[in-house]
Amino acid sequence: MSEGGIVASFVVPVHPHTVLAPDKNPGWRKLRDAYDDAAATIKDLNADLIIIYSTTWPSIIGHQIQADPNPEWVLVDHDFHDLGSISYSFNIDAEFAHAWNDASEKRGLQSRCVNYKGFPIDVGSVVALTLLNPDNKIPAVIVSSNMYANRSETTVLAKSCLDVVKAQGRRAVAVTAMSLSNRMFTDFIDAKQDKIHSLKDDEWNRKILEFLEQGRMEDVGQLSRTIHQQIRVQKVVAFKPMWWLSAMNGNRNDLTGKVLAYEAIHGAGCAVVHIDPTPSGAGEKEYDEDDVEYFHGERGVLDSAEEAPADTQHEHEQPSDGGQKMEQNGPALWDPTEAEGSVNTDAAPKPVGAYPHARKVGDMLFLSGVGPRQPGTNAIPGGPIHDENGEPLDYDIKAQTHAVVDNVKRIVEEAGATMEQVVDVTTFLVDMKRDFSGYNEVWAQTLGKVGPTRTTLAIDALPTPIAVEMKVIVHLGE
C-alpha cells in the first residue's frame, strides 16, 4: 500500500443557493459552475476520500465526526427555506471516521463519532457533498467546527486526520465549507441585486484569494484572527477553517492555488478555490506560531473536582514536600506510612501515596514498587519520559534502571539485609520495545549477578514520568 496523502484541497461556499437557485443570479451560477469544475477535478484525481470541515456544524464537546454510513434526510435552510428543500443520502466512510476519532484522542483531543438516524447534517456539508460528489461514488467524512477550539486544537485535529490518511494509504481531498466575509444583508433582497456587503469586505476577500492563488495557505492561516476581526460576523465558529486546511497541507506557503470563482451570496463573500499540493516554488514558510503536535488545552474541566485531595483526606494524611525543593512533574509526594513491620528511609524517594517503602512479614521483606526518582530532589536520572504537559521527551533507560537498583539497595539495607538476599523481582516497563535491551543490560550488571527470579511486564503508564519500576521480594532468613 502506497503512503496516502492530500491530493487536492478546496474552499467552497455553504449557502444553498448554488444547489437550489443557481440561475437566479449570474454570480450564483458562476459559483455553481466552479463547484462542478471542482467535482470534475476530484474525479480526475481518482480521489478515494472527501474530508469536509464544516463551519456550519458547530460543536461544544470537542469535535464530532459523522460516522453514519448512510445518513439520509431532507435539509431546509433556517434562513433560505423559501428556496426549497435538499434531499440527501451520503456515502460516509465510517471506518475512517472511527480511526480519525481514535487518532484524535491519541493526540490529546476531545472528540467523538456520531451515528444517529435523523442526525441533521448541516447546510454547508450538504451543499458541499451534493455538488462535489454528485454520484456519491467517493466515500466522505465530515467533522464539526468546535466553538471553543483554538488554533492548537484545530491544527492537531488536522494532524490526527493525516495520521489516518497516511496509515490507510488514502488519496484524500480536504474541503472547508465556509464563507470568506460572512456578513449577509440583514434584510431581504432581490436576487439580481446581490453583491458583496461592503467594499471593505470585498477588499479583504480579494487579499485572501490573492494569498491562496499564490499558494500561501499558512499565511492565511496565521492571519485568521485578523481576518475574523475585520470581515467576520462574530459567530461562534470564527475563521478557523484555514487553520485546519493549512495543517492538512503541512502548513505550507508554496502550494499551487487557483480561484475558480468569487461571488456574493446575500452579501457574504463566497469562493471556490482549488489548492494543489504541488510545490509552486514560491513562498518561504515562516512560523510565527508553534507547530503543535499534541493538544494540551483546557480539556479537564470536569476532572478538576476529582483531582482536589483536600476534601477527601485527613490533615495528617496530606502529601508533604518534606521541606525540600522538589521537581514537580507528577503526582504529589507523601510521607511513607508507619505500621507494624514497615521499613522506611530518607535515602529512598518519597511515595506517591499512602504506603511504606517496604514491610517485613516473618522472614520476608516486601518492597513497594521502586522507581528511579532521587530522594530529596525527586529528580529522575536519565530524564523524565514526558514533560508536565505530557509532551514526550527523550530519556536514558540505562540511567533510570541504575537509579532503580540503587533505590532498591537503599531500602533493602535499611531493613538490615543485602542485595544478595533479593529472591524475586517484577519489573514494569512503559515501552518494552524501546527499553528492554538497555534495561536488560543494566540488569545483567547488577541484580543479574545476584540471581533472583524475574518477570518483566509492559504497562501503559506509571504514576510519575518514569520508564521503569521494580517490585522486589527479599528473603531475610539467611
Binding site: W57, P58, S59, I60, I61, G62, Q64, W73, V74, V76, H78, D79, F80, H81, D82, G84, S85, Q110, V114, Y116, K117, G118, F119, P120, D122, N146, Y148, R183, M184, F185, T186, D187, F188, V233, Q234, K235, H266, E298, R299, G300, V301, L302, D303, A305
Partner: protein, 300 residues
C-alpha cells in the same frame, strides 16, 4: 371579540438534558435522572399555571437562528424527528406540534408594520429546532396548545447587543400589540439560558450530577444578579445591564429572547417567581414566571 391578554411570561430554558433526564416516550435515549432542580422548577411552573386558561403559547427560540430578519413558523402542523446536532446522544425526539398560524401571522404583520424584516416559514420539510421542542415539551408535555414559534434574529452578531435590544424591544411591542388585538389569552416563553459557558468535556454518564456545577464563580455572580433583578421587579435594570451581562457571562441573551420577553410584558415592575435554578453542563439556567394574570398588561 374581547381584548387579548398575556396570562404569563416565562424564561423557560431548553438544554436537551432536561428532556433526556425525564425519559418521555418521545425521546429515544434513556437516562437515570439528573438536573432535578430545574425539572422540579418546570413542575412548579406548570402547577402555577395549571388553573389558568390560555389559548396559545408564543415562544422565541435561540436555536432557530436567522441572520436575515425574524421568521415565524407558518404552517399549521409540524411533525418529525429532532436530533440535537450538539448532544445527539441525549436528544432524539419525535415531535408533533400544532401552530397557531393566525396569531403568528398577526405578530409577523405587526412587526413588519414596525419596520422589522420578517418572513413566514412555509416549507413543509422544515425541521423544527430542538430549542423550541425542548421548551415546548417541558412547559406543555401534552402539546395540547397551539404554539407560535419565532426565530432568533442574530443582530447581536451583526451589530451589538444595544442594536439587538432595540430590535427585540420593537419585536416585543409588536408581539404584545398583536396578542391584544387577537382576543386570545397567551403564555409567552423565552427559551433561554442565562450564563452560557459550557464545559467542553462530558461525563461518561452525562447525568452524573457529581460533575455538574457552574463553570466559574463569575458566572454564578452574574446569574444571581440577574435573577435578583427578576425577583424584585427590576426589569429595566436587566435591560440596562444587558450588554455587560451578555458579554461577560457569554449569556444566551445574545439571541434576544430575554429582551423580547421583557418588552412583550411591558417591562414589568412586579416581582417574578423563581421556580428553579440549576446548571447544565456548566451553563446557568432559571425557570422564571412573571404572573401577568395578577397585573393587567396594557397596550403601549
Amino acid at each position: 371579540m374581547g381584548r387579548g391578554q398575556i396570562v404569563a411570561g416565562c424564561i423557560a430554558p431548553h438544554p436537551p438534558h432536561l428532556v433526556y433526564a425525564e425519559n418521555p416516550p418521545q425521546n429515544e435515549p434513556v437516562a437515570e435522572g439528573g438536573w432535578e432542580q430545574l425539572r422540579w422548577g418546570y413542575e412548579r411552573l406548570r402547577d402555577s399555571l395549571a388553573d389558568k386558561e390560555y389559548d396559545a403559547i408564543v415562544l422565541l427560540s435561540p436555536h432557530w437562528q436567522t441572520y436575515v430578519g425574524t421568521h415565524f413558523l407558518g404552517l399549521p402542523q409540524f411533525e418529525g424527528l429532532s436530533v440535537d446536532p450538539i448532544f445527539p446522544n441525549l436528544f432524539r425526539y419525535h415531535y408533533d406540534m400544532t401552530v397557531d398560524v393566525e396569531l403568528a401571522k398577526a405578530i409577523h404583520d405587526e412587526a413588519e408594520a414596525a419596520g422589522l424584516p420578517v418572513k413566514m416559514m412555509e416549507n413543509p420539510d422544515f425541521r423544527v429546532d430542538y430549542g423550541t421542542i425542548t421548551t415546548g415539551h417541558l412547559f406543555n408535555p401534552d402539546w395540547d396548545k397551539p404554539i407560535v414559534v419565532i426565530s432568533s434574529n442574530r443582530s447581536t452578531a451583526y451589530y451589538s447587543v444595544e442594536v439587538m435590544q432595540e430590535i427585540m424591544v420593537e419585536l416585543g411591542k409588536a408581539t404584545r400589540k398583536a396578542i391584544e388585538a387577537s382576543g386570545k389569552k397567551v403564555v409567552v416563553l423565552a427559551s433561554n439560558s442565562l450564563s452560557h459557558r459550557h464545559f467542553t468535556t462530558e461525563s461518561e454518564m452525562p447525568e452524573d450530577m457529581s460533575k455538574e456545577h457552574i463553570t466559574s464563580h463569575a458566572m454564578h455572580l452574574w446569574d444571581m444578579r440577574i435573577i435578583e433583578y427578576m425577583r424584585t421587579g427590576q426589569s429595566q435594570r436587566i435591560l440596562d445591564e444587558m450588554p455587560e451581562f451578555t458579554e461577560q457571562a457569554i449569556a444566551e441573551s445574545d439571541g434576544g429572547g430575554i429582551s423580547w420577553l421583557l418588552s412583550t410584558l411591558d417591562t414589568p415592575d412586579y416581582p417574578a417567581i423563581l421556580h428553579g435554578y440549576g446548571t447544565i453542563i456548566g451553563t446557568g439556567n432559571a425557570v422564571v414566571e412573571w404572573p401577568c394574570y395578577q397585573h393587567e398588561v396594557t397596550a403601549a
